[in-house]
Protein backbone atom coordinates (compact mmCIF):
# COMPACT_ATOMS: atom_id res chain seq x y z
CA UNK A 1 0.00 0.00 0.00
CA UNK A 2 1.50 3.35 -1.00
CA UNK A 3 2.20 5.79 1.85
CA UNK A 4 -0.43 8.50 2.24
CA UNK A 5 -0.50 12.02 3.66
CA UNK A 6 -0.43 11.92 7.47
CA UNK A 7 1.54 9.71 9.84
CA UNK A 8 3.75 7.18 8.11
CA UNK A 9 5.78 4.51 9.80
CA UNK A 10 9.42 4.24 8.82
CA UNK A 11 11.26 0.99 9.44
CA UNK A 12 15.01 1.01 9.17
CA UNK A 13 17.35 -1.93 9.36
CA UNK A 14 21.07 -1.39 9.73
CA UNK A 15 23.40 -4.26 9.22
CA UNK A 16 27.12 -4.68 9.02
CA UNK A 17 29.21 -7.70 8.06
CA UNK A 18 29.75 -8.99 11.63
CA UNK A 19 26.15 -8.27 12.74
CA UNK A 20 27.26 -6.17 15.69
CA UNK A 21 24.91 -3.49 16.98
CA UNK A 22 26.06 -0.21 15.43
CA UNK A 23 24.10 2.23 17.52
CA UNK A 24 21.71 2.36 20.46
CA UNK A 25 20.73 5.99 19.83
CA UNK A 26 17.49 6.72 18.00
CA UNK A 27 17.91 7.62 14.37
CA UNK A 28 17.03 11.25 13.64
CA UNK A 29 14.71 11.57 10.63
CA UNK A 30 13.84 14.65 8.60
CA UNK A 31 11.44 14.65 5.68
CA UNK A 32 11.74 17.39 3.05
CA UNK A 33 9.60 17.93 -0.01
CA UNK A 34 11.43 18.21 -3.30
CA UNK A 35 10.06 21.75 -3.67
CA UNK A 36 12.08 24.43 -1.87
CA UNK A 37 10.43 26.51 0.83
CA UNK A 38 8.29 23.79 2.35
CA UNK A 39 8.57 23.29 6.09
CA UNK A 40 10.21 19.92 6.79
CA UNK A 41 8.89 17.30 9.20
CA UNK A 42 11.03 15.66 11.87
CA UNK A 43 10.91 12.51 13.98
CA UNK A 44 13.01 9.90 15.75
CA UNK A 45 13.24 6.18 15.12
CA UNK A 46 14.33 4.37 18.32
CA UNK A 47 15.90 0.91 18.35
CA UNK A 48 13.14 -1.71 18.61
CA UNK A 49 15.16 -4.89 18.21
CA UNK A 50 18.70 -5.76 17.26
CA UNK A 51 19.57 -3.68 14.16
CA UNK A 52 15.94 -2.55 13.64
CA UNK A 53 14.63 0.97 14.21
CA UNK A 54 11.10 2.25 13.88
CA UNK A 55 9.54 5.71 14.01
CA UNK A 56 6.80 7.94 12.63
CA UNK A 57 6.89 10.98 10.42
CA UNK A 58 3.79 13.07 9.88
CA UNK A 59 3.82 14.11 6.23
CA UNK A 60 1.84 17.23 5.42
CA UNK A 61 1.44 17.06 1.65
CA UNK A 62 1.26 14.63 -1.24
CA UNK A 63 4.19 14.57 -3.63
CA UNK A 64 7.87 13.74 -3.72
CA UNK A 65 9.75 13.70 -0.45
CA UNK A 66 13.31 12.96 0.53
CA UNK A 67 13.80 11.38 3.94
CA UNK A 68 17.11 12.23 5.58
CA UNK A 69 18.48 9.94 8.28
CA UNK A 70 21.15 10.85 10.80
CA UNK A 71 22.64 7.80 12.48
CA UNK A 72 24.93 8.31 15.45
CA UNK A 73 27.21 5.29 15.83
CA UNK A 74 28.55 3.93 19.11
CA UNK A 75 31.99 5.35 18.37
CA UNK A 76 30.50 8.85 17.95
CA UNK A 77 30.72 8.83 14.19
CA UNK A 78 27.67 10.22 12.38
CA UNK A 79 26.42 8.63 9.17
CA UNK A 80 23.90 10.45 6.97
CA UNK A 81 21.69 8.65 4.47
CA UNK A 82 18.64 9.62 2.49
CA UNK A 83 16.00 8.04 0.30
CA UNK A 84 13.14 9.33 -1.89
CA UNK A 85 9.52 8.63 -1.06
CA UNK A 86 6.34 9.48 -2.95
CA UNK A 87 3.43 10.33 -0.70
CA UNK A 88 -0.07 9.95 -2.10
CA UNK A 89 -3.22 11.91 -1.33
Amino acid sequence: MPPKVGAIQINIQITNPNSKLLSESPIEMEGNMSHPGMVPVRGNAPLISESRYQGNLVTTMAGDWIIFLKIKLKNGEIIEKNFPLRIHE
Partner: protein
Protein backbone atom coordinates in the same frame (compact mmCIF):
# COMPACT_ATOMS: atom_id res chain seq x y z
CA UNK B 1 23.53 56.67 -7.00
CA UNK B 2 21.02 54.79 -4.82
CA UNK B 3 20.02 52.86 -7.92
CA UNK B 4 23.61 51.79 -8.64
CA UNK B 5 24.10 50.71 -5.02
CA UNK B 6 20.87 48.68 -5.16
CA UNK B 7 21.82 47.14 -8.51
CA UNK B 8 25.28 46.28 -7.17
CA UNK B 9 23.75 44.53 -4.16
CA UNK B 10 21.43 42.54 -6.44
CA UNK B 11 24.33 41.71 -8.78
CA UNK B 12 26.41 40.47 -5.87
CA UNK B 13 23.47 38.43 -4.58
CA UNK B 14 22.92 36.96 -8.06
CA UNK B 15 26.59 35.98 -8.29
CA UNK B 16 26.53 34.36 -4.85
CA UNK B 17 23.37 32.44 -5.69
CA UNK B 18 24.83 31.26 -9.00
CA UNK B 19 27.90 29.96 -7.15
CA UNK B 20 25.67 28.35 -4.50
CA UNK B 21 23.52 26.78 -7.24
CA UNK B 22 26.53 25.25 -8.95
CA UNK B 23 28.67 24.28 -5.98
CA UNK B 24 26.15 23.97 -3.13
CA UNK B 25 24.11 20.92 -2.10
CA UNK B 26 22.09 19.66 -5.07
CA UNK B 27 18.85 19.25 -3.16
CA UNK B 28 16.55 22.23 -3.76
CA UNK B 29 15.15 22.75 -0.22
CA UNK B 30 18.67 22.78 1.20
CA UNK B 31 20.17 25.14 -1.36
CA UNK B 32 19.90 28.91 -1.06
CA UNK B 33 19.83 29.43 -4.85
CA UNK B 34 16.59 27.50 -5.37
CA UNK B 35 15.12 28.77 -2.11
CA UNK B 36 15.83 32.47 -2.58
CA UNK B 37 15.13 32.57 -6.32
CA UNK B 38 11.94 30.51 -6.46
CA UNK B 39 10.47 31.38 -3.07
CA UNK B 40 11.76 34.68 -1.73
CA UNK B 41 12.56 36.57 -4.93
CA UNK B 42 9.23 35.76 -6.56
CA UNK B 43 7.27 36.37 -3.35
CA UNK B 44 8.92 39.72 -2.67
CA UNK B 45 8.57 40.67 -6.34
CA UNK B 46 4.77 40.39 -6.35
CA UNK B 47 4.39 41.97 -2.91
CA UNK B 48 6.59 44.96 -3.82
CA UNK B 49 4.60 45.35 -7.03
CA UNK B 50 1.38 45.25 -5.03
CA UNK B 51 2.34 47.64 -2.26
CA UNK B 52 4.87 49.93 -3.98
CA UNK B 53 5.77 49.70 -7.66
CA UNK B 54 8.13 48.19 -10.21
CA UNK B 55 11.23 48.51 -8.02
CA UNK B 56 12.69 45.14 -9.03
CA UNK B 57 13.25 46.60 -12.51
CA UNK B 58 14.74 49.75 -10.90
CA UNK B 59 17.39 47.64 -9.21
CA UNK B 60 17.81 45.07 -11.98
CA UNK B 61 21.42 43.85 -11.91
CA UNK B 62 21.35 43.01 -15.63
CA UNK B 63 21.00 46.71 -16.44
CA UNK B 64 24.03 47.52 -14.27
CA UNK B 65 26.08 44.91 -16.12
CA UNK B 66 24.87 46.29 -19.43
CA UNK B 67 25.71 49.88 -18.48
CA UNK B 68 29.22 48.83 -17.45
CA UNK B 69 29.73 46.90 -20.69
CA UNK B 70 28.46 49.85 -22.75
CA UNK B 71 31.44 51.92 -21.57
CA UNK B 72 33.51 49.63 -23.78
CA UNK B 73 31.07 48.58 -26.48
CA UNK B 74 28.66 50.89 -28.27
CA UNK B 75 25.65 48.97 -29.61
CA UNK B 76 25.68 49.30 -33.42
CA UNK B 77 22.03 48.60 -34.22
CA UNK B 78 18.59 49.91 -33.40
CA UNK B 79 16.01 47.28 -32.49
CA UNK B 80 14.39 46.24 -35.83
CA UNK B 81 11.11 48.00 -36.51
CA UNK B 82 9.29 44.78 -37.42
CA UNK B 83 10.15 43.35 -34.00
CA UNK B 84 8.88 46.37 -32.04
CA UNK B 85 6.05 44.38 -30.52
CA UNK B 86 5.73 41.99 -27.59
CA UNK B 87 5.63 38.75 -29.61
CA UNK B 88 9.17 37.71 -28.75
CA UNK B 89 8.55 38.62 -25.11
CA UNK B 90 5.44 36.42 -25.16
CA UNK B 91 7.45 33.57 -26.67
CA UNK B 92 10.21 33.85 -24.06
CA UNK B 93 7.71 34.16 -21.21
CA UNK B 94 5.96 30.98 -22.42
CA UNK B 95 9.26 29.12 -22.92
CA UNK B 96 10.35 29.99 -19.37
CA UNK B 97 7.02 28.75 -17.97
CA UNK B 98 7.26 25.51 -19.96
CA UNK B 99 10.93 24.87 -19.11
CA UNK B 100 10.23 25.54 -15.45
CA UNK B 101 7.72 22.67 -15.41
CA UNK B 102 9.30 20.26 -17.88
CA UNK B 103 12.85 20.43 -16.56
CA UNK B 104 11.71 20.79 -12.92
CA UNK B 105 14.03 23.78 -12.68
CA UNK B 106 12.60 24.63 -9.25
CA UNK B 107 13.93 21.30 -7.98
CA UNK B 108 17.46 21.76 -9.28
CA UNK B 109 19.98 24.28 -7.91
CA UNK B 110 22.25 23.68 -10.91
CA UNK B 111 19.52 24.27 -13.48
CA UNK B 112 18.39 27.36 -11.54
CA UNK B 113 21.93 28.73 -11.68
CA UNK B 114 22.26 27.92 -15.40
CA UNK B 115 18.93 29.62 -16.16
CA UNK B 116 20.07 32.73 -14.27
CA UNK B 117 23.35 32.79 -16.21
CA UNK B 118 21.48 32.29 -19.50
CA UNK B 119 19.14 35.24 -18.81
CA UNK B 120 22.10 37.46 -17.84
CA UNK B 121 24.04 36.52 -21.00
CA UNK B 122 21.02 36.88 -23.26
CA UNK B 123 20.28 40.30 -21.81
CA UNK B 124 23.89 41.42 -22.14
CA UNK B 125 24.21 40.09 -25.70
CA UNK B 126 20.98 41.79 -26.81
CA UNK B 127 21.85 45.14 -25.27
CA UNK B 128 25.37 45.16 -26.67
CA UNK B 129 23.98 44.62 -30.15
CA UNK B 130 20.95 46.88 -29.92
CA UNK B 131 20.61 50.41 -28.60
CA UNK B 132 18.48 51.61 -25.69
CA UNK B 133 16.65 49.12 -23.45
CA UNK B 134 15.73 46.67 -26.21
CA UNK B 135 15.95 43.62 -23.96
CA UNK B 136 13.76 45.19 -21.25
CA UNK B 137 11.09 46.42 -23.63
CA UNK B 138 10.78 43.57 -26.09
CA UNK B 139 12.33 40.43 -24.65
CA UNK B 140 12.75 40.23 -20.88
CA UNK B 141 10.21 37.71 -19.54
CA UNK B 142 10.56 39.06 -16.01
CA UNK B 143 10.17 42.59 -17.33
CA UNK B 144 6.94 41.74 -19.17
CA UNK B 145 5.60 40.21 -15.96
CA UNK B 146 6.57 43.34 -14.00
CA UNK B 147 5.17 45.77 -16.57
CA UNK B 148 1.78 44.07 -16.56
CA UNK B 149 1.68 43.65 -12.78
CA UNK B 150 2.74 47.24 -12.14
CA UNK B 151 -0.48 48.48 -13.74
CA UNK B 152 -1.90 47.43 -10.36
CA UNK B 153 0.79 49.22 -8.31
CA UNK B 154 -0.01 52.29 -6.24
CA UNK B 155 3.01 54.25 -7.47
CA UNK B 156 3.47 55.77 -10.89
CA UNK B 157 6.03 58.10 -12.46
CA UNK B 158 4.33 61.03 -14.15
CA UNK B 159 4.46 64.68 -15.04
CA UNK B 160 3.61 67.11 -12.23
CA UNK B 161 2.33 69.97 -14.36
CA UNK B 162 1.49 69.50 -18.04
CA UNK B 163 1.65 73.24 -18.75
CA UNK B 164 5.40 73.12 -18.01
CA UNK B 165 5.83 70.37 -20.62
CA UNK B 166 3.87 72.46 -23.13
CA UNK B 167 6.71 75.01 -23.21
CA UNK B 168 9.50 72.41 -23.27
CA UNK B 169 11.54 72.25 -26.48
CA UNK B 170 14.36 69.94 -25.43
CA UNK B 171 12.50 66.77 -24.33
CA UNK B 172 15.20 65.58 -21.94
CA UNK B 173 12.79 63.09 -20.37
CA UNK B 174 12.95 61.18 -23.66
CA UNK B 175 16.26 62.21 -25.19
CA UNK B 176 18.40 62.61 -22.06
CA UNK B 177 21.09 65.19 -21.48
CA UNK B 178 24.88 65.47 -21.20
CA UNK B 179 25.18 61.86 -22.27
CA UNK B 180 28.90 62.12 -22.94
CA UNK B 181 29.53 62.95 -19.30
CA UNK B 182 29.42 60.41 -16.49
CA UNK B 183 26.71 62.48 -14.80
CA UNK B 184 24.64 62.62 -17.99
CA UNK B 185 21.15 61.16 -18.12
CA UNK B 186 19.91 58.79 -20.77
CA UNK B 187 16.28 59.79 -20.81
CA UNK B 188 13.65 57.09 -21.22
CA UNK B 189 15.22 54.13 -22.97
CA UNK B 190 11.80 52.58 -23.45
CA UNK B 191 10.52 55.51 -25.51
CA UNK B 192 7.96 56.73 -23.01
CA UNK B 193 7.57 60.45 -23.68
CA UNK B 194 6.48 61.71 -20.27
CA UNK B 195 3.77 64.21 -21.26
CA UNK B 196 1.99 61.36 -23.03
CA UNK B 197 2.91 58.61 -20.59
CA UNK B 198 -0.12 56.87 -19.12
CA UNK B 199 0.38 54.50 -16.20
CA UNK B 200 3.17 52.01 -15.61
CA UNK B 201 3.14 49.78 -18.69
CA UNK B 202 6.71 49.49 -20.06
CA UNK B 203 8.07 51.69 -17.26
CA UNK B 204 11.12 50.21 -15.56
CA UNK B 205 11.04 52.86 -12.82
CA UNK B 206 14.63 53.71 -13.74
CA UNK B 207 14.03 57.37 -12.71
CA UNK B 208 16.13 58.65 -15.63
CA UNK B 209 13.26 60.93 -16.68
CA UNK B 210 12.96 62.38 -13.17
CA UNK B 211 16.65 63.20 -13.12
CA UNK B 212 16.81 64.38 -16.73
CA UNK B 213 13.95 66.88 -16.57
CA UNK B 214 15.55 70.35 -16.18
CA UNK B 215 12.30 71.77 -14.76
CA UNK B 216 12.05 69.12 -12.05
CA UNK B 217 8.60 68.40 -13.43
CA UNK B 218 8.54 64.59 -13.19
CA UNK B 219 7.93 62.67 -9.95
CA UNK B 220 6.69 59.49 -8.37
CA UNK B 221 3.02 59.83 -7.53
CA UNK B 222 0.48 57.78 -5.64
CA UNK B 223 -2.66 56.68 -7.43
CA UNK B 224 -5.49 54.18 -7.10
CA UNK B 225 -4.05 50.77 -8.11
CA UNK B 226 -5.43 49.62 -11.45
CA UNK B 227 -6.95 53.01 -12.31
CA UNK B 228 -4.84 53.19 -15.46
CA UNK B 229 -6.77 50.23 -16.87
CA UNK B 230 -9.75 52.56 -17.19
CA UNK B 231 -7.68 55.04 -19.15
CA UNK B 232 -8.09 54.50 -22.87
CA UNK B 233 -5.90 57.35 -24.09
CA UNK B 234 -3.03 56.82 -26.50
CA UNK B 235 0.04 55.84 -24.44
CA UNK B 236 3.50 57.10 -25.32
CA UNK B 237 5.69 54.31 -26.70
CA UNK B 238 2.76 51.88 -26.62
CA UNK B 239 -0.32 53.24 -28.34
CA UNK B 240 -3.75 52.03 -27.27
CA UNK B 241 -4.13 48.69 -25.51
CA UNK B 242 -7.23 48.01 -27.60
CA UNK B 243 -5.25 48.38 -30.84
CA UNK B 244 -2.29 46.21 -29.86
CA UNK B 245 -2.94 42.53 -30.56
CA UNK B 246 0.44 41.55 -29.12
CA UNK B 247 -0.30 43.33 -25.83
CA UNK B 248 -3.71 41.75 -25.63
CA UNK B 249 -2.21 38.28 -26.08
CA UNK B 250 0.45 39.12 -23.52
CA UNK B 251 -2.27 40.05 -21.01
CA UNK B 252 -4.21 36.86 -21.72
CA UNK B 253 -1.11 34.65 -21.53
CA UNK B 254 -0.15 36.37 -18.27
CA UNK B 255 -3.62 35.53 -16.90
CA UNK B 256 -3.91 31.96 -18.21
CA UNK B 257 -0.23 31.41 -17.34
CA UNK B 258 -1.04 32.23 -13.73
CA UNK B 259 -3.65 29.48 -13.72
CA UNK B 260 -1.35 27.01 -15.46
CA UNK B 261 1.54 27.70 -13.11
CA UNK B 262 -0.71 27.03 -10.10
CA UNK B 263 -2.33 24.01 -11.78
CA UNK B 264 1.12 22.45 -12.18
CA UNK B 265 1.20 21.91 -8.41
CA UNK B 266 -2.01 19.99 -7.86
CA UNK B 267 -3.17 16.41 -8.34
CA UNK B 268 -5.42 16.78 -11.42
CA UNK B 269 -2.51 18.02 -13.55
CA UNK B 270 -0.45 14.95 -12.60
CA UNK B 271 -3.44 12.67 -13.16
CA UNK B 272 -3.90 14.13 -16.65
CA UNK B 273 -0.23 13.68 -17.49
CA UNK B 274 -0.22 10.09 -16.22
CA UNK B 275 -3.38 9.32 -18.17
CA UNK B 276 -1.85 10.58 -21.44
CA UNK B 277 1.42 8.79 -20.75
CA UNK B 278 -0.37 5.50 -20.07
CA UNK B 279 -2.73 5.79 -23.04
CA UNK B 280 0.03 6.56 -25.52
CA UNK B 281 2.75 4.54 -23.78
CA UNK B 282 4.98 7.58 -23.40
CA UNK B 283 8.16 7.47 -21.39
CA UNK B 284 8.23 11.06 -20.22
CA UNK B 285 5.82 13.92 -19.63
CA UNK B 286 6.92 16.15 -22.52
CA UNK B 287 3.82 15.64 -24.68
CA UNK B 288 1.21 15.74 -21.90
CA UNK B 289 2.82 18.94 -20.64
CA UNK B 290 2.94 20.34 -24.17
CA UNK B 291 -0.78 19.62 -24.55
CA UNK B 292 -1.51 21.50 -21.32
CA UNK B 293 0.61 24.45 -22.45
CA UNK B 294 -0.90 24.57 -25.93
CA UNK B 295 -4.36 24.50 -24.37
CA UNK B 296 -3.73 27.14 -21.70
CA UNK B 297 -1.32 29.45 -23.51
CA UNK B 298 -2.54 28.88 -27.06
CA UNK B 299 -6.13 27.74 -27.42
CA UNK B 300 -7.71 29.52 -24.45
CA UNK B 301 -6.13 32.94 -25.16
CA UNK B 302 -7.14 32.68 -28.84
CA UNK B 303 -10.73 31.78 -27.95
CA UNK B 304 -10.81 34.49 -25.26
CA UNK B 305 -9.40 37.07 -27.67
CA UNK B 306 -12.09 36.24 -30.21
CA UNK B 307 -14.95 36.42 -27.71
CA UNK B 308 -13.93 39.37 -25.53
CA UNK B 309 -14.18 42.95 -26.88
CA UNK B 310 -10.65 44.31 -27.47
CA UNK B 311 -10.99 47.23 -25.09
CA UNK B 312 -11.97 44.91 -22.24
CA UNK B 313 -9.01 42.52 -22.44
CA UNK B 314 -6.94 44.72 -20.12
CA UNK B 315 -9.60 44.18 -17.44
CA UNK B 316 -8.16 40.66 -17.01
CA UNK B 317 -4.92 42.01 -15.57
CA UNK B 318 -6.17 42.40 -11.97
CA UNK B 319 -7.48 38.84 -11.99
CA UNK B 320 -4.26 37.46 -13.47
CA UNK B 321 -2.16 39.39 -10.99
CA UNK B 322 -4.43 38.23 -8.15
CA UNK B 323 -3.76 34.59 -9.08
CA UNK B 324 0.01 35.12 -9.33
CA UNK B 325 -0.10 36.94 -6.00
CA UNK B 326 -2.08 34.18 -4.32
CA UNK B 327 0.29 31.50 -5.61
CA UNK B 328 3.61 33.21 -4.95
CA UNK B 329 2.59 34.66 -1.60
CA UNK B 330 1.62 31.14 -0.48
CA UNK B 331 5.15 29.85 -1.09
CA UNK B 332 6.76 33.01 0.27
CA UNK B 333 4.78 33.16 3.50
CA UNK B 334 4.69 29.44 4.30
CA UNK B 335 8.42 29.15 3.66
CA UNK B 336 9.46 32.57 4.98
CA UNK B 337 12.25 31.41 7.28
CA UNK B 338 13.10 28.02 5.79
CA UNK B 339 16.48 29.48 4.85
CA UNK B 340 17.49 29.79 8.52
CA UNK B 341 18.48 26.10 9.01
CA UNK B 342 20.52 26.26 5.78
CA UNK B 343 22.39 29.34 6.98
CA UNK B 344 22.81 27.66 10.39
CA UNK B 345 24.42 24.66 8.74
CA UNK B 346 26.60 26.82 6.48
CA UNK B 347 27.88 28.77 9.46
CA UNK B 348 28.16 25.73 11.74
CA UNK B 349 25.67 27.11 14.28
CA UNK B 350 24.36 24.18 16.38
CA UNK B 351 20.74 23.58 17.36
CA UNK B 352 17.50 22.90 15.53
CA UNK B 353 15.48 25.87 14.33
CA UNK B 354 11.88 25.21 15.51
CA UNK B 355 9.59 24.04 12.72
CA UNK B 356 6.75 26.32 13.82
CA UNK B 357 8.93 29.40 13.28
CA UNK B 358 9.77 28.56 9.68
CA UNK B 359 6.71 30.11 8.10
CA UNK B 360 3.19 31.47 8.51
CA UNK B 361 0.66 28.66 9.17
CA UNK B 362 -1.10 27.46 6.02
CA UNK B 363 -4.55 28.14 7.50
CA UNK B 364 -3.72 31.86 7.74
CA UNK B 365 -2.00 31.94 4.34
CA UNK B 366 -5.03 30.33 2.70
CA UNK B 367 -7.21 33.27 3.80
CA UNK B 368 -4.64 35.69 2.37
CA UNK B 369 -4.62 33.74 -0.91
CA UNK B 370 -8.40 33.90 -1.14
CA UNK B 371 -8.25 37.63 -0.37
CA UNK B 372 -5.85 38.28 -3.27
CA UNK B 373 -7.95 36.22 -5.64
CA UNK B 374 -11.17 37.96 -4.59
CA UNK B 375 -9.54 41.38 -4.85
CA UNK B 376 -8.30 40.60 -8.36
CA UNK B 377 -11.75 39.42 -9.40
CA UNK B 378 -13.50 42.49 -7.96
CA UNK B 379 -11.06 44.95 -9.57
CA UNK B 380 -11.38 43.12 -12.91
CA UNK B 381 -15.14 43.27 -12.74
CA UNK B 382 -15.11 46.89 -11.54
CA UNK B 383 -12.77 47.99 -14.35
CA UNK B 384 -14.97 46.18 -16.84
CA UNK B 385 -18.04 47.98 -15.45
CA UNK B 386 -16.34 51.40 -15.54
CA UNK B 387 -15.15 51.03 -19.13
CA UNK B 388 -18.62 50.07 -20.32
CA UNK B 389 -20.31 52.73 -18.17
CA UNK B 390 -18.15 55.44 -19.75
CA UNK B 391 -19.40 54.48 -23.20
CA UNK B 392 -22.98 53.99 -22.05
CA UNK B 393 -22.90 50.26 -22.71
CA UNK B 394 -24.06 47.36 -20.61
CA UNK B 395 -21.47 44.92 -19.32
CA UNK B 396 -20.20 42.40 -21.84
CA UNK B 397 -21.69 38.96 -21.16
CA UNK B 398 -18.78 37.06 -22.67
CA UNK B 399 -16.32 39.05 -20.55
CA UNK B 400 -18.32 38.38 -17.40
CA UNK B 401 -18.38 34.70 -18.33
CA UNK B 402 -14.58 34.56 -18.69
CA UNK B 403 -13.97 36.57 -15.54
CA UNK B 404 -16.27 34.40 -13.44
CA UNK B 405 -15.09 31.14 -15.01
CA UNK B 406 -11.42 31.96 -14.49
CA UNK B 407 -12.05 33.01 -10.90
CA UNK B 408 -13.93 29.80 -10.12
CA UNK B 409 -11.22 27.73 -11.77
CA UNK B 410 -8.53 29.57 -9.77
CA UNK B 411 -10.55 29.10 -6.59
CA UNK B 412 -10.77 25.37 -7.30
CA UNK B 413 -7.02 25.06 -7.93
CA UNK B 414 -6.06 27.04 -4.84
CA UNK B 415 -8.45 25.01 -2.68
CA UNK B 416 -6.95 21.68 -3.73
CA UNK B 417 -4.26 20.13 -1.57
CA UNK B 418 -0.91 20.78 -3.16
CA UNK B 419 1.08 17.93 -4.55
CA UNK B 420 4.62 18.66 -5.54
CA UNK B 421 6.28 16.15 -7.74
CA UNK B 422 9.53 16.28 -9.48
CA UNK B 423 13.11 15.42 -8.80
CA UNK B 424 15.66 17.18 -10.92
Amino acid sequence: MIRVIGQSIFLLLALLLIIEGILGPQFAPKNLATLFIWIHYRGLLVLVLLFLGNYFCTFCPMVLLRNMARYFVVPPFSWPRFLQKKWLGILLFSIILFSYEYFDIWASPLKTALLTIAIFLFSLGTDLLFKKASFCKYLCPIGQFNFLSSTLSPQVIKVKDHSVCATCTTYECLLGNNQKKLSGKLGCELDLFLPQKVGNMDCTFCMECIQACPSNNVAINLRLPGIELQDERHRAGIGKFSKRHDLQYLILIFTFGALLNALGMVGPAYAFQEFIMTQFKLENDFFPLLILFIFFLGCLPIIAKKTIPSRLISTFLPLGFGIWLAHYSFHFLTGLFTFVPILQEMMGIPGQFPLQWMGVPESIVFSIEMGFLFLGFIISLGTHYQLRYKSNETMSKSTIFWQVALSIFALWILSLPMEMRGMA
